[in-house]
């Protein structure tokens, strides 16, 4: 795509002004969109380091003269951000491990043996689109009966199930493009199917596993709805803390912004790592670049 195209300059000369005008429009639009994306982020980051007097000032302060980190310590310790951070880490990591392990096995089975035909595939895939509210009402009642509300296990279970479509389909696409001959060769050498999977297919699928893991982690890290309903004082995750900042009445802009920054950094960093596989992840393998 990026290779030199010697034909281009010639064309450009022919169409001259019109092309240049389109180029201007193009970069104005890109710049405008960049601004639209960055301004809210800038405002949030800057609010998180403003002293209280600055964020209540009436021409708004664009850059604080005396930046402070008090909001970060307050968010972590007075608003239980630290506990939320730890909960989020535990829940998202465990979800990632379980979802990817279980999802990889299923994906392998679907890709190599076509287990359950289209029906099983359809069923798993449609989980992705199930309205959360339809599931969470009965899950809440069932969790109540089994003492799973507001527990780490409860959150890990529900997140695993709802990240499974991603894990399964990322891995499915990966296994499908891997030649089956290597596994067959291992079988001929006397490996059982399990050994062929463990020693041949899995190592080859490692990049796919990393991608699936990142998507599962980001899902569990950013999910809000289930966390809001199924957690309260013990297993609350980072996003669900924002319920306590509601109303924008109290002057907690600094604390909430600090917490926002804290929770954004890991998921953005991870997301950018798998940038290349983003399209495949977003469309459950239907498209790839």
């Amino acid at each position: 795509m990026a290779e030199a195209r010697p034909a281009r300059p010639g064309h450009r000369r022919v169409t001259g002004h019109a092309t240049r005008a389109w180029e201007v429009v193009r970069f104005v639009y890109i710049g405008g969109f960049l601004l639209f994306l960055l301004v809210p982020l800038y405002w949030m980051v800057i609010t998180s380091i403003k002293p209280v007097s600055d964020y209540l000032a009436v021409p708004p302060v664009v850059f604080p003269s005396e930046p402070t980190i008090v909001h970060y310590t307050a968010a972590l310790y007075s608003y239980r951000g630290m506990q939320g951070l730890i909960n989020s880490l535990i829940i998202a990591s465990a979800t990632t491990v379980v979802s990817v392990a279980v999802g990889t096995l299923m994906a392998y089975s679907l890709a190599r043996f076509n287990t359950g035909g289209q029906h099983l595939a359809f069923w798993v895939l449609s989980q992705r689109f199930l309205p959360g509210i339809a599931v969470v009402l009965p899950v809440f009642l069932l969790y109540r009966n089994y003492g799973l509300n507001d527990t780490h296990i409860g959150m890990i279970l529900i997140y695993t199930v709802f990240s499974l479509p991603f894990s399964v389909w990322t891995m499915y696409a990966y296994f499908r493009q891997m030649p089956v001959e290597l596994e067959n060769a291992a079988r001929v050498d006397g490996c059982s199917r399990w050994q062929a999977l463990k020693m041949v297919a899995l190592p080859l699928a490692a990049p796919g596993i990393v991608t699936a893991a990142v998507f599962a982690f980001i899902y569990a890290w950013t999910e809000f709805f289930f966390a809001l309903i199924l957690t309260s004082r013990t297993a609350f995750t980072l996003p669900s803390i924002f319920r306590s900042f509601l109303g924008f009445q109290g002057a907690q802009y600094g604390e909430s912004s600090a917490l926002t920054v804290i929770s954004l950094v890991p998921s953005i960093a991870l997301g950018l790592l798998v940038q290349r596989h983003l399209v495949r992840g977003l469309t459950l393998g239907a498209l790839h670049e």
Partner: protein, 320 residues
């Protein structure tokens, strides 16, 4: 079908037969495992989905027809009363209309902005590698957090939006973006478009990239205007991918909850209730669990046709 390529390898014959001979009971077990390998591998996932998704849904069917209300003791059979309550509730109507209007507005806006951005970004330029990561960042954020900082930007009196608008327009602007119609709808749509336009963009960019350059060059040689090229060549070619992206977004947009909860709280009154927010309020704030469950089944049934079409499309082997 090449899906079954692996199955052609002899299952019980030659290979596992040899290992069975070698090591007695272990061999029998491993031969059994080999024979049922496909099923064994899907078992953990299937069990999890059954326990946490299929079983709860079936259980909720029972909840639909009984009294399950934390304010009224007992689980007496009430027939269709819960459905009647849900359908006749005027707030449910408001919520449904809001859901349809807001999700259409969001997806339409995201589609237009995202398509334009994809067209603008498809040809390489210096700095594209720096701009790309910024454009996709919102996809890795919690919608609750996006709602949070849009609220920060728009709230009155300390948010900068009204101040900046006053300066630009030259007269004082005092819009309560989060509590005043129609601005609160606009605020919610803007926040959603901020987060999900990148989704449209990324998918459409992949679609545009896959269109061969020869087509464009043929068009250019014929002296076609960019306008003409866009509508006659580009758009028809990306149409299938565009529909896929729209279906994905639409199915997520109708579940709109997080930014409503954070930015407007459904208010003022019940003005910005969406379907998901309404069901949440009925179920988890007022604890009319049966009525909410009945409502959620109605909602589910309304979305199932779209889900079915999209998933079937995703399962087609040569997608896109």
């Amino acid at each position: 079908m090449n899906q079954q390529r692996a199955a052609e390898a002899p299952a019980g014959a030659g290979v596992s037969g040899r290992s069975r001979g070698k090591s007695g009971r272990r061999g029998v077990v491993s031969a059994w495992v080999d024979q049922h390998f496909g099923v064994l591998l899907v078992l953990p996932a299937v069990i999890l989905i059954v326990l946490l998704s299929a079983y709860p849904l079936v259980y909720s069917l029972w909840v639909d027809f009984v009294n399950y209300d934390f304010q009224i003791p007992g689980h007496a059979f009430v027939g269709l009363q819960n459905f009647k309550d849900a359908i006749l509730d005027p707030v449910a109507g408001t919520a449904l209309v809001n859901t349809v209007v807001l999700s259409s507005a969001m997806v339409a806006l995201e589609l237009v902005l995202g398509l334009l951005l994809a067209v603008a970004m498809v040809r390489p330029f210096r700095g594209r590698g720096i701009v790309m990561p910024i454009f996709i960042m919102p996809l890795f954020m919690s919608p609750a957090i996006v709602g949070q900082f849009w609220g920060l930007l728009l709230q009155r009196p300390f948010g900068p939006t009204d101040y900046v608008l006053s300066q630009v327009l030259g007269h004082p602007v005092t819009i309560s973006w989060l509590t005043e119609a129609p601005w609160n709808y606009l605020a919610v749509v803007l926040a959603d478009a901020w987060q999900w336009t990148p989704f449209m963009f990324v998918i459409l960019l992949a679609g545009l990239t896959s269109i061969s350059h020869e087509l464009y060059e043929a068009g250019q040689l014929d002296g076609a205007s960019p306008w003409h090229t866009f509508f006659k060549i580009t758009l028809p070619l990306v149409a299938p991918i565009l529909l896929l992206a729209v279906a994905f977004r639409l199915l997520d947009a109708v579940k709109l909850f997080d930014i409503i909860y954070i930015m407007t709280g459904g208010g003022p009154g019940t003005d910005t209730y969406t379907a998901a927010f309404y069901l949440y309020e009925r179920g988890f704030q007022e604890f009319h669990l049966s009525q909410a469950t009945a409502g959620s089944w109605i909602f589910l049934i309304l979305t199932i046709p779209v889900i079915t079409v999209l998933v079937r499309r995703l399962l087609r082997p040569e997608a896109a």
